[in-house]
Subunit: 234 residues, 2 copies
Amino acid sequence: MQSIDFPFDKFNFNSDSILEGLPEEDVALLTKSMVTHSYKKGEILFRDGSYPTGIYFIKKGKVKKYKTDKEGKEQIFYVYRNGEFFGYHALISEEKFTDTASTIEESIISFIPKDDFLQAIQTSSILSNRLLKVMSHEFGVLVNGLAVLAQKTVRERLALSLLVLRDKYKKDNQENKPVELDLSRDDLAKFVGTARETLVRLIHDFKEEGLIETNGRKITLLKPLDISKIANLY
Amino acid sequence: MQSIDFPFDKFNFNSDSILEGLPEEDVALLTKSMVTHSYKKGEILFRDGSYPTGIYFIKKGKVKKYKTDKEGKEQIFYVYRNGEFFGYHALISEEKFTDTASTIEESIISFIPKDDFLQAIQTSSILSNRLLKVMSHEFGVLVNGLAVLAQKTVRERLALSLLVLRDKYKKDNQENKPVELDLSRDDLAKFVGTARETLVRLIHDFKEEGLIETNGRKITLLKPLDISKIANLY
DNA sequence: TGTTTATTGTGACTAAAGTCACATTTTAGG
DNA sequence: CCTAAAATGTGACTTTAGTCACAATAAACA
């Protein structure tokens, strides 16, 4: 197995660091009225254009964030995994959601109501500083994403996407086990930013080149190092 | 002159709101060691990959933020005008800059050193709350930008870009005067996210359709309403 | 376990945008 | 004000990726 030194940080929000070592009382404030729910694959948590009522924390599962245009074309710009928070931007900016969030697999997600969250950031300067830092980082991540879309070919973007997603689908405990990406071709195409047919053809090429292996919809990266070369980041 | 109701907010950071009604003592803290400089067109303020030493405030002029890829291709993702702050993300996230900033016209820019700024956000909860709010908004702006790049044609993006830039180039005092966009075809192409040649051809088309007027490099929008229809946002 | 429905894969074609080479115009500096 | 250099504009061509129509698999579930 090829090992790989890749700047995942450039493409991942670090919202999981918000809780790290947060004082008991702040955590208590946040979790006071927290409710936890099970979701099936494909359920929508919130929609672009609606008003926020709270923030979300993923205990288990995966959530895609995307925008749908007039013609119904969907662009996924981020996939959240367990341990990540989301939905706080619209709340803090006092605006409507600018994107839609839905589960892409069975998930267990906690919801913290608006007032608790806002009170918590008012009360806890540690929490608000954490958020400030996280959002500053997120800015860079989105800028990188924007540049990738504007400057990279579809083939390069697919290579990059596979690496970023592998990191998402990696189980925390099993560091060196092979990772199976389990999402539809359609979603992968929307994440890469291309047509499904184009994506399918490229997946075929990658297979022929011995870079990946597929099993049904599932994709396993055989040569991450070579794939990272295709991504052509530096 | 066509009047137009356009959601500029979706495409503009609102960093100018940071100072609005900020208490005297907080402003004093920020401006303690502030230095103000004149810059010629094309000067670089900071580079992608370097470490931040402070934040910037534009008194006069315009600054582009962009990323350059391996092959030297540049993508401009934002144009700052007078009244806007920039350069704080990398400082707060304690990371290197993820983009490059340079003037696109003669500018007067103030610099607030790192320590003053960091101390100010530690001391002033008003300031840090403002920043939190601004960055939450910025998140949405970048997401919108990403969706535009992924989902819109070059023609649509040009229409949108012209409207967004007109708002930037509009003089604060002269609300209803015609606005001349004054930036190179090259920069406009990099903002739209296309090749210069493609941009030039589209500018030609827009002229033939009577939507705009050019005078040397300068572009005046004659029919903003029609242009906003081309942008095809809703 | 069969059967229907959804997803994935493929071929042929089209459209959009990029590239290259060069002419023309504008701008800046001496 | 003249001239060199830079920026803009145009034509011909190439490349990349998208679209449409449909075949082949895989997944869901009755």
